[in-house]
Symmetry: C2
């Protein structure tokens, strides 16, 4: 008998038919003699409706009340799924985040799970119940309802799997698994049978939003085997596990991120601590910087470019304007028509020439590279946004079609 945690997102429970589809998957797993804990998100349109109601009344409502409101969404989906499982004739009980023992930090709308007290879940499993748990939500030390922020239900599922030492944590989604590139864009994108935690982390960061990052970090920390699979097709998905357990591929995927803007600061006086002084002002505003490019000094000045998320571009530029107004400098500009293309692969660590191969692909496709950034298992380049899809195709073809 195995303990399996299964997580279903909002689109998997969007309507009655899909709720029954999930109930079928869950009960099939249970029928095989497994203990099953199911984590569910709110139905997609429920969340939208609730946000609309809130905005109509007070767009600047406190985060505490927003969490109170949104948490009603999972309450609805867990009870509906439980009702569907009852209809199929299986014993089931639904549990809210706090009933399932989710203790979180106090930060409303983006709380972190501190602990899962699993007494109640264990008790229900002992009673042979299928346990349906509300994802995305918990309780802080004030006994107030909190939510975990974007992708929180993935984290809820992995947290339960970790706390209960589950044999497998299945993340059901609307894609069949993790692909070497976006399959809607790249015709011969291949589904991976397995991928390491680190590669998955890099891919998630790079905009291949299959799994929430925090959930992968947690799975890595507690060594929980994840499976990403589709709730609509009955086929095995991609296993996310320790790198040591798998054959290393050269690269595991090509990812595109268009939520990026480049800020250029030109003609800044070249003095010690320049980068520190500039970037500390940005971190004070909680603006994250990604790729940084610093020109070689000339005439006692330097040019510095960096990328930020599009949402932060305007504020970052303003901070830089302030900076050159006090310290000196020529100009600040924003370029939002850029995209970041990345390749990720644990294989890079041991194989030379991976970056070169990527650059060659771009050169062959006549795509200009504006900035470059590298890590142990990742190479990212900044290019013009309108070349993004062509770049992904060219790189993917270079690495995978030659096989």
């Amino acid at each position: 008998m195995s303990l399996i945690v299964q997580k279903f997102g909002g689109s998997s429970v969007a309507d009655a038919e899909r709720v029954f589809n999930v109930a079928k998957i869950v009960t099939d797993t249970y029928k095989k003699g497994n203990q099953v804990v199911v984590v569910v998100s709110a139905q997609g349109d429920t969340t939208d409706d609730l946000i609309e109601k809130a905005n109509e009344i007070n767009p600047n409502a406190s985060k505490r009340e927003k969490d109170m409101l949104l948490a009603a969404g999972e309450q609805i989906s867990i009870s509906l799924l439980a009702m569907a499982i009852e209809k199929l004739g299986y014993p089931v009980v639904s549990l809210l985040g706090w009933q399932a023992g989710f203790q979180t930090s106090s930060a409303y709308t983006s709380a972190r799970i501190k602990k899962v007290r699993t007494d109640r879940i264990s008790k229900e499993l002992d009673k042979k119940n299928i346990v349906v748990v509300a994802g995305f939500q918990g309780l802080n030390k004030y006994e107030d309802v909190t939510t975990l922020g974007r992708g929180g239900s993935d984290t809820s599922a992995v947290a339960i799997a970790a706390a209960m030492n589950a044999d497998l944590c299945q993340i059901f989604t609307d894609v069949k698994g993790v692909y070497t590139a976006d399959p809607r864009k790249v015709e011969n994108a291949k589904m991976l049978k397995s991928i390491s935690y680190d590669e998955m982390l890099e891919l998630a960061t790079l905009g291949a939003q299959v799994l929430n990052n925090r959930s992968v970090e947690m799975a890595k920390k507690y060594n929980i085997e994840l499976e990403v699979l589709s709730s609509f097709t009955n086929t095995p998905g991609t296993i996310v596990k320790e790198a040591a357990k798998m054959e290393k591929m050269l690269i595991s995927g090509v990812a595109k991120d268009t939520d990026v803007a480049r800020i250029s600061v030109l003609g800044v006086p070249d003095e010690p601590g320049l980068a520190f002084k500039m970037f500390s002002r940005l971190s004070a505003k909680k603006i994250n910087i990604d790729i940084i490019l610093q020109s070689i000094g000339r005439d006692g000045t330097k040019d510095i470019s960096f990328t930020v998320a599009k949402d932060n571009a305007k504020e970052a530029a303003e901070v830089m304007e302030d900076y050159i107004n006090t310290v000196g400098g020529k100009s600040v500009s924003i370029d939002e028509k850029v995209a970041k293309i990345s390749i990720v692969g644990a294989g890079m660590e041991s194989h030379a020439g991976v970056a070169t191969k990527m650059f060659e692909a771009l050169y062959d496709a006549h795509i200009n590279i504006r900035m470059i950034s590298t890590s142990e298992i990742k190479v990212s380049v900044l290019i013009d946004e309108d070349k993004a899809d062509a770049a992904v195709k060219a790189i993917h073809s270079k690495f995978f079609d030659e096989d």
Copy 2:
């Protein structure tokens, strides 16, 4: 500084505009230096939507899961009301039933409040917060969400008022107060300034559904002064309090109940324990009997008629068929075209001739009385349903227009 509990039903918070209307009433009360605890029901259409979703999936879902689902309704309305109060610039916190300390019996969908642990509410009031509490819901000993059944939010409000020894419990509704008759039917129906708990109880039972009965019983037990008033007009309502504290009116109202059917069992052998034997069969099926009429015996047989709620009529008749099939008897018939008209008044106890005056009004209006039932503060008659409105008018006019 007074502690005031205010309760608003589903129609009072039906949309954003009404939510703000409630927020205005609440903050006006707070501004005057009062501590305010607000109890809210789910928005009317939310409950309907949730029930529809459930029925689509499993009309025979367990009561536990139904409660889990429905309780999401108040979670939505309390957070929205809190957001509106925030928007008006006042400190506020919303609390779910369990957070507000509602401990209930285990009976899902019709739980009874066992205790309200008021620590959290007190703490929030100490912090100068307006406290918005989810009505209708609580937690049972299994730490499962329960709901209180129809009209439960009234009971929630009175329970908080009792537990916290509140100075006043205001039940806001869509009528201005308690009337001597249905104001939509009887032109010169008068609003009562006050009414006793017992009279209110009789009126509620009789179909003048202004206040939920359990809430009035609880208010009587803990001597909580209630005020029934409109959330749409800024005028004083009807105070419900101890009879001793008020001037007794001869009668306080005329009520109509058309949810009634008469079952007649004819020609039953007249033997000792007849009524007991018949009615114990009905109580075994949880069918409540209201008015009973037993004919004087003739030829060793008797005729017995009684009234039940329309929903129970068919089952009651079947039970009676079974009865005459085993014990003997002539026939069983159902008459659903009847209505019960009642007058209620604490004044009856000390004034003779109240019933006579009622019968006189009906005689003058040529309305035939089929059955009669009386209690200390109530006289009820069963008449043809199509005469019901005319009967209420005639009786109301007899008692109130002569003043």
